[in-house]
């Protein structure tokens, strides 16, 4: 009630070896070590992970949702970046 809340951390979990870490949620903790321990208790109680990353939420920079159209539009008219853009003569395989 008197103390301000602990800082917020974003939690990333590697579900198993061979996969990348994925965002699973966030939690409050006083420091990185406690954030990792709390993340273990909160997000991997049923063996959901083999590795945890925590990142101070305040340290994340993100693209702005307001500019998402202008920001991502340049990719929209470049269909030639996809293999489906190209026509392949009948009978050609493994291309």
């Amino acid at each position: 009630m008197t103390t301000r809340d602990w800082p917020l951390w974003e939690v990333f979990v590697r579900a198993r070896r061979g996969l990348s870490h994925s965002h699973v949620g966030s939690l409050h903790a006083p420091d990185a070590e406690m954030a990792v321990r709390n993340a273990r208790d909160v997000f991997t109680r049923r063996e959901e992970g083999v590795s945890i990353w925590v990142v101070p939420a305040a340290a994340i920079s993100a693209s702005s949702p307001d500019e998402k159209d202008a920001f991502f539009d340049p990719a929209a008219d470049k269909v030639y970046r996809h293999p489906t853009f190209y026509s392949v003569p009948a009978g050609v395989e493994h291309l």
Binding site: M1, T2, T3, R4, D5, W6, L8, G25, S26, L27, H28, P30, D31, M34, D41, V42, R45, R46, A62, S64, P65, D66
Partner: protein
């Protein structure tokens, strides 16, 4: 959520297309069954409604630890004790997922807790009933968690991304909660005559409050229309209640226990179980704070919070000290 009865809010009409505040882009996204994400522009009422609902849901998860937590030290075997501890720990986690989801809408957890402690936000009334016997733990798992799951599964598809994602995790974990409750009742019901009577007594006491967890009848639920229009709620209170009755009525036969409703009967015409009229006057009394344990639950909650204050402060002090030493090194 644990209860659908959203009693703290002022009824607001569903937005109409000619409303000047109507946000066309936003509604197009909703109509397209798209997902709203934290930093998106959203109508103020949508944001406020979500904060209130998610907070009330989070509060219910952590207050819900009390009725069961009181039995951890008295569980009848080590196995039952380990199971109950795992369940209560899950509920703490559910509270945490939900507070985090609420925080993505720009509120602080500390502030939400403060609103709970000062009575400005509610939790589900179901947790204001006592748990006098071990069979109550069975009845809570089977009926209260069962009703909660029925309410929560549709929220995994709600329009607000973080709430939906939190609910996916919660629903996965809830499935064991209901089964362990069912198993407790099944064991008692097939035990000694005294154990059977204890199981029956608990079910008799929890049945009607569980049905009330779905909230007031549809014609008496002013917020539902707006919630449904916004894709936060997918089914009406009465639809969910019916789904719950259809699920649990046959299970009671397997338990060898009866449900305390003489009008409960399967209707072959509709394929649904009919049930008797629910006396909501009791629910509204409990919501108003006149339930058996409202005061005790709140006192326990604020006391635990206040007594934890020095721990939160010490941990911050420790972190600050280490940050300083690292900066020097």
């Amino acid at each position: 959520m644990y209860g659908n009865h959203d009693t703290t809010s002022v009824p607001v009409e569903a937005p109409a297309a000619d409303d000047p505040t109507f946000d066309r882009d936003f509604m197009a996204l909703i109509d397209d069954d798209g997902r709203v994400e934290p930093r998106d522009a959203m109508p103020d009422a949508y944001r406020r409604g979500l904060v209130r609902q998610i907070a009330q849901h989070a509060h219910s998860e952590i207050i819900g630890m009390q009725p069961e937590g009181s039995w951890i030290g008295r569980a009848p075997s080590l196995k039952r004790k380990a199971i109950l501890m795992a369940k209560v720990q899950d509920e703490a986690g559910h509270g945490l997922y939900l507070y985090a989801a609420a925080e993505t809408l720009g509120v602080d957890r500390a502030d939400l807790l403060d609103r709970l402690h000062t009575g400005r936000q509610k939790y589900s009334s179901i947790f204001n009933y006592p748990t006098p016997t071990w069979a109550d733990i069975g009845a809570i798992g089977w009926l209260v968690d069962g009703a909660a799951i029925t309410n929560q599964v549709p929220i995994t598809k709600c329009s607000y991304g973080p709430y939906a994602r939190a609910m996916v995790r919660i629903c996965k974990e809830e499935s064991f909660h209901q089964r362990q409750g069912f198993e407790i009742l099944h064991t008692l019901s097939h035990g000694s005559p005294q154990q059977h009577a204890m199981a029956q007594d608990a079910v008799d006491r929890w049945w009607w409050p569980s049905l009330m967890m779905f909230g007031p009848p549809d014609d008496d639920s002013p917020n539902s229309a707006r919630s449904m229009r916004w894709g936060i709620k997918r089914f009406s209170n009465d639809e969910l209640r019916q789904r719950f009755v259809d699920m649990t009525a046959p299970q009671s036969h397997a338990l060898g226990l009866s449900l305390p409703d003489p009008e409960l009967a399967f209707d072959a015409l509709t394929g649904h179980w009919r049930y008797g009229e629910i006396d909501f006057t009791e629910l509204f009394e409990v919501i108003k704070g006149n339930g058996p344990l409202n005061a005790q639950r709140m006192a326990h909650r604020t006391d635990a919070h206040e007594r934890g204050d020095w721990v939160r402060e010490a941990a911050l002090g420790y972190a600050a000290k280490h940050a300083r030493t690292e900066a020097v090194a």
